[in-house]
Amino acid sequence: MAGGPQRLASGGATIDRGAPVRFTFDGRRLDGFAGDTLASALVANGIALVGRSFKYHRPRGLLGAGAEEPNGLVRLGAGSAVEPNTKATLVELHDGLVSSSQNRWPSLAFDVQAVNALLSPFFAAGFYYKTFMWPKSFWEKFYEPAIRRSAGLGRASGLPDPGRYDKVNAFCDVLVIGGGPAGLMAALAAGRAGARVILAEQDFVLGGRLLSERHEIDGMPSSAWSAQAAAELDGMPNVTVLRRAAVFGSYDSGTFGVVVSAAPGETGPRQTLWRIVTRSAVLATGAIERPLVFGGNDKPGIMLASAVRSYVNRFAALPGQQITLFTATDEGWNTAVDIAAAGGRVVAILDTRREVSPQLRALAPAAARIFLGADIKAGRGRLRLTAIDVVDRDGRAERIATDCLAMAGGWTPMGGMAIHLGGRLAWSERIGAPVPKSTPAMRIAGAAGGQLSLAESLASGAEAGLAAAEAAGHAAAAMAIPRSSDDVVTPFQRRPYAKTRRPAFVDFQNDVTAKDIALAVREGFAIPEHLKRYTTLGMGTDQGRTASLNAIEILADVTGHPSTELMPTSARPPETPIAIAALAGASRGEHFRPKRLPASHDWSAAHGGSFTEAGPWMRPRWYTRTGEADWLTTVNREVTTVRTSVGVCDVSTLGKLDLSGPDVAVFLDRVYTNLMSTVPVGKVRYGLMLREDGFVLDDGTAARLGETHFVISTTTANALRVTQHVEYCRQVLWPELDVSLVPVTDQWAQYAIAGPRSRDLLQALLGDRIDIGNAAFPYLAVKAFDWDGVEARLFRVSFSGELAYEIAVPASVGAAAFERLMDACVRLGGCAYGTEALGVMRIEKGHVAGSEINGQTTAADLGLGKMLSAKKDFVGKMLAQRPALAAADRPALVGLRPVDRAGRFSGGAHFLAPGATPSIEADEGWLTSVAFSPSLGHFIGLGFLRNGARRLGEQIRAYDPVRGRDTLVEVVPAAFVDPEGARLHV
């Protein structure tokens, strides 16, 4: 038979018999149709055994037909595209689909670990807390690895996910969650009223239960009605219909998370995260059926009655040859009718109720035997259900041969999303389940709100949609509710749970049985939240959808508390499991975070630049020349070139803030530790900022361009934090000061030109456009000038310790300016240098940087105590005087060099006295920055040493056990090259 041997000859609301599809399961090639789910295609192919349970590795078949599925978890795809633990009931079948079962070895039919089931008495709930403690070392070596290997369901690929992902933001008046009758009506009502509506449905077809039931609406089959409603919605410009769209979470301020999957064969992202902000939502997620708890209720072939109806009506797939029904509600009987109508064989109907109405009895197919007040003592069969042992109200016991049992135990509304934000549920006696309450932010419609029947669903959906539209300002006339056939809603009846010797499963996926619950209660875990954590009930991929209410009933039964005083464990996002990659979107690999590139980037890339991350920026570390053996050779060359000739380095990444206004000098005096109001116009001053807590925040320069105009610089790493801090000072602390702040980091491309020939370079390049003679333009001068039509600024500042300048031009001509500079530089025998050479030179000069200004150091620690002005107050001044910050014995900045000049050491080494035994007490500080100094021919370092200032000349160990080093070093002043700074002033 096309589409599988168990495929019915006709019917099937969503399958397309004209579109056959081939797929594989555990290597078997199978047929199905477009519009099938993987689960329905397996049913159509007569496959009942689809997986193994988590703990006992029991053979399992499909329990459900939708998101509630606990058993039918398969592995999809191959290689890096593998997707483990996928609910077969939610997989849209497509040509070439590769699927396989999991958690079994060597095969699904024969699984070695099924022995676990034999040991199940030992493996009762919580057994592992009581054992595996001796001998102590065996836990990590033996027990735990064994547990870890047998736990877990599927296997991850271990390879990078090849999929593409994307994100979308969307806004609407009304978000309707779920496209069953309630959701469709809500969307129609709100859409017709003119509201902006988004309808999100996780299935690939709209209709919900309408697709699975043989209802009539407006005189047509319910699935035809839903297709018509879908067409109307698709045609409305103010309505967006999202199919394959799982709403997974409700977040603050009307934000919802939705993962929309691509249709099979669709190009573009595999999944897209929609962040939907809505004025209000309609929750119309339906209800799911409850299984019945009895011994052996997990045999493959035992299903929910609603699932059987889905397979039969929606997919025209018959799940068994001899079907029995076990029901606590009227659904069982309806299911029998549907099976019979499809030509299936119903052998028996078992109703737990002692009496049923004659109308109901009349529904039973003629051949079906009826048992009232019935219970099942055992489900039988190994890899598939073969028979059940039944007793009825009169004690009549019988074994009935059956290969499919449909269970109908009442309904559980899917109200999870209503409590993501802390909403509450209330017990409905009518349906025997807790239901969520509507709020203006989220109206509950249909079965999700306990309005189980079709008529109620349609009406409550329309009402919710209208109310939501109205709340968004779209008034509309009441909507006509279509006439429909309807369900008989059975008032819920409690049923004592089966006390059977056989395992009676409550949580199928996690193998939690009724007995486990009783045991947990005995051990004191008698409330649902404790029960969950002790037994793992409800902690599987289905989050206990089919288990939670049965568990509560059993708990109530065992403890004697009314179940209505118990609440199911809390629901949390995601409502449906969502891929990590979908949450991450396109932000991965190289594009994990955007890159900031300075204007010189292309030049650097073309000239051997090797790049490194500096905060968000990419900066050249060095420029390799052909023939250079390693990076150190390159860096040594760059340093030596700068120290002897000239080099150019892009320093645009430093943060720059333009500050102006009548009060700017007063303001900067408060922000910096040193005086800025005394900086003459045309001069630059080095400055230090403290945090309010008195530790150093950042250092940089302040250049006074005019009486009321400064431009200040920050370090690359701290640019954002300093901007935020200065804005805080301006807006919150002293709004009365008239100061404007404009970040100009991106406006100015800025290049350092350093080395004894830097003036020559500028002279060659700028000629008489600006007088840069030492007299006219001394150290720390700043001047704006016209560089051939470009507004430029020249600063005489130096990080390298050489005669040096920084030139700034608008970044839009930054690339051209860099080329000009490099042209002139190369002509003088100079070179471009990168961050590594920059670092070497600043260590040679003893300038502090990020490794020293690490948020834990004071100005005095850094040797900058003198920069704390005594003449004025400034941010951080008071708290910097706290005893521990002002203590004299704090580690202070020193220079270090190896006693044996050929020796080496590294940043992060600690200082220990020679001969000292390593201990916290003996620890005297640490090395912060280390470099090989080509100028001196040996390693040099900066570090913080206890009482450092008083210990020059001492020898101490740089102890670095994590690198296996221990080097004797000498404490020297923290300036190795030109300590007097003579070169700056030439």
């Binding site: 962040r275 991106d746 608008p810 930054g814």
Partner: protein
Amino acid sequence: MSDGWTRPAPAFPAFPPRPGLAVEEIVGRSIVTVVARAGQEAALRAVVETALGVLLPEGPRRVAGQEIAFIGIGPGKWLAIGLPVAALAPLADVAAIVDQSGAYGVLSLTGAGARRLLGRAVAIDLDDAAFGAGSVATTIIEHVGVTLVRTAATPPAYELYVVRSYARSLAHWLHETMG
């Protein structure tokens, strides 16, 4: 010596046109930050009106005059678009005037596709009713700060201001998302 080097370099790579979407870089536009001095917003408004013939927008809006447009980017803060910084000298008594022409890359996006594309990207409502012509938003696209301006209603037209150093990352995102 002027070898044309004053000509600003583009910040973005080229964007081939897509159906319903044209993306072009606007190179060389003058962009100036104007910040009213404390208590001088009214005075600034008056000067702008007399000197430039434009009413400064309130809030995050764009108002365009003959040669200059103002875009609100914060309380008392605007980007003045179109005239070089020198032309804004009359404002200097009552405002800080800071040239930012080098700081930004500017894209114009036009067509129905622009609305869709940007609507996906920014977490603000771009519906006509909420973000009609003249609307401005400073916000983020994929970790990159942008100022988005709706310049025309039909066909939908936008300008996107992004600081230069991020332009290529933003371009990568655009290329990916435009498909």
